[in-house]
Amino acid sequence: MSIRDLGLRVAATATPRATLRARLAFAGIPLAALALVVIAILASTQGAAAIPPWTATLMLLDRLPFVHLDTGASEAWQRILFDIRLPRVFAAALVGAALATSGSAYQGVFRNPLADPFLLGVASGAALGAAIAIMSPLPIDSWGFGWVPAFAFIGATVAVTSVYFVARTGAGVDDRSLILAGIALSAMFGGVTSFLLLTGGQKAQPIFEFIFGGFNTSSWERIAFAIPYLAVGATVIALHARALNVMQLDEEQASHLGVNVARTKVIVLVAASLMAATAVAVAGTIGFVGLVVPHAIRMMFGMDYRRTLLASALVGASFMIVVDLFSRLVIAPQEIPVGIVTSMLGGPFFLYLMRRRRAVGV
């Protein structure tokens, strides 16, 4: 290649996109955080009884320590905002953040952008685990630190381990094997869950929630139980952000840069499964969030996991709040289960991604 050729090639492919990315990455995280706060407040004002956003903001500020504001809100508004709407918005935010973060982590470990807790069978594994816990004679104890999330975690781990061993190749994980293994496992776990539901009588009623994911039964208690698990999972994944960056290269190269590849994979998969399982224990199986959000983030922010993990969590939270809002408003007073909405949105997106990967080979 001559120098002149080089010059031409550079001119032809000069990328203002790279600089745009850099700028977005710089301002992106504060912007995403701000958007999340605004969306959360707006969403908590919408519903059968609408609360003016400004009043809601004042009511929230009033709850801060050392702040006392005259909000003019009625007792009913207080109850609606703090006991009904906010737990729901919070739960949606946590679940959205958890699914997007775990999806992003799975994609890093599998070196495959199609990995998602739902498609991998992790969500249905967790749902089966939760169903088994519900049907067992073990005490459930109103969602406290009980057996439901523990069993969901076991189910999720079994699922991700099985998929990995079926689909792994030398360089990474083969698309088709990954998806097929995930489908087979989902069908299998879903079958057993349905069986438990059909034969379980009255006791099996909560299993419905796990099949059609949603936030209509959210409560502060359930949020409180979820936070420690999510915090542990998120911290572990965040500590491996730089190793995940290096693992975008092949495994041999990553190990030549000093990454303990086998150990990193196990740790990150377990942490991602913990987050996904907790999300399922809170809100049932909600598909495609872990696929759509990290993909959008990669397009906007590039591929440095130190940024994309946090950005995925923030945008995943906002996304889930918006989808939940849609699902409870669009045919009000009835609700559509959120899992159905994300599947209707995410399914076509997934097909598009597969098609594009075939065409471009990204």
């Binding site: 080089l6 090639r9 360089a171 290269l249 190990s255 030549h256 000093g258 591929m303």
Partner: protein, 264 residues
């Protein structure tokens, strides 16, 4: 050339290396050394054990014998410490097609960063210097998917240089390159040796290897056949014994380096 070395210990020292897979012997009692500032070419037919030897030298494959890096036994290194001294460019390394060259090179800083460490100004300076040393400055902001074969090789060499290695191991960095890119990569390795890096490189083209290497190591069926300056290694006897009757060794009309050509 192979002048007497003054360094107390070579950067890489392999003694009596044997690597077995089951009952099959891949490397059978090979010894070699690489000192600072020299390019050592590892040559031999396919299946001679060259890649296996490279893997063993980085701890990626277990074997018996003694391997020392910078005078210290390989087994005593923590991984990250090892890869601050030694960098590897394997055969056909992979990276996402949408990654830019600069981001790839930045990943080479991994062994130097702490658990939470952000890249310091020095890290970024090393990245820029590595891009320049490997001759990637013209395409540093382009994505890997847009590069030519030679540019891509140089990008991965820049990534290795970002580790600030004293010893560089490359496995067939010139495979599938056109003649110009082939020569450019080897000239780059010579320049790096001139800066004091020790280079061990697996090559297939014996004429290029003879032209650019200080010393060559010829392997065949897991054994070391001969080792020394190109003129001593690339002789009709050795090449005939290893590669058969279909190649001949001539003398380059300019400079007299050995040339390996098809027998007519």
């Amino acid at each position: 050339m192979a002048a007497p070395r003054l360094e107390p210990a070579p950067l890489l020292e392999v003694r009596d290396l044997r690597v077995l897979i089951g009952a099959r012997v891949l490397v059978d009692g090979v010894s070699l050394e690489v000192a600072a500032g020299e390019v050592v070419g590892l040559v031999g037919p396919n299946g001679a054990g060259k890649s296996t030897l490279m893997r063993a030298a980085t701890g990626g494959r277990a074997g018996t014998g003694d391997i020392r890096v910078n005078g210290r036994a390989l087994g005593t290194y923590a991984k990250r410490d090892l890869f601050r001294i030694l960098a590897v460019v394997q055969q056909l390394p992979e990276a996402p097609a949408t990654m830019t060259v600069r981001d790839l090179v930045l990943l080479g800083r991994f062994p130097h960063l702490g658990l939470l460490g952000r890249e310091s100004a020095r890290d970024l300076a090393v990245v820029e210097a590595s891009i320049v040393r490997a001759g990637c400055e013209a395409f540093a902001d382009r994505t890997l998917g847009t590069l030519s074969g030679g540019e891509r090789r140089r990008a991965f060499i820049a990534r290795a240089l970002a580790q600030e290695p004293r010893l560089l191991l490359l496995d067939e960095p010139t495979a599938n390159l056109d003649a110009e890119a082939h020569a450019e990569i080897l000239a780059l390795l010579r320049r790096l040796a001139g800066e004091g890096v020790g280079v061990l490189v697996v090559l297939h083209d014996l004429s290029y290897a003879a032209a650019y290497c200080d010393r060559m190591v010829l392997m065949h069926e897991g054994r070391l056949v001969v080792e020394g300056p190109p003129a001593r290694v690339v002789t009709p006897e050795h090449i005939g014994a290893v590669y058969g009757r279909h190649v001949r060794v001539l003398t380059h009309p300019e400079g007299g380096a050995p040339l390996v050509v098809p027998a007519l």
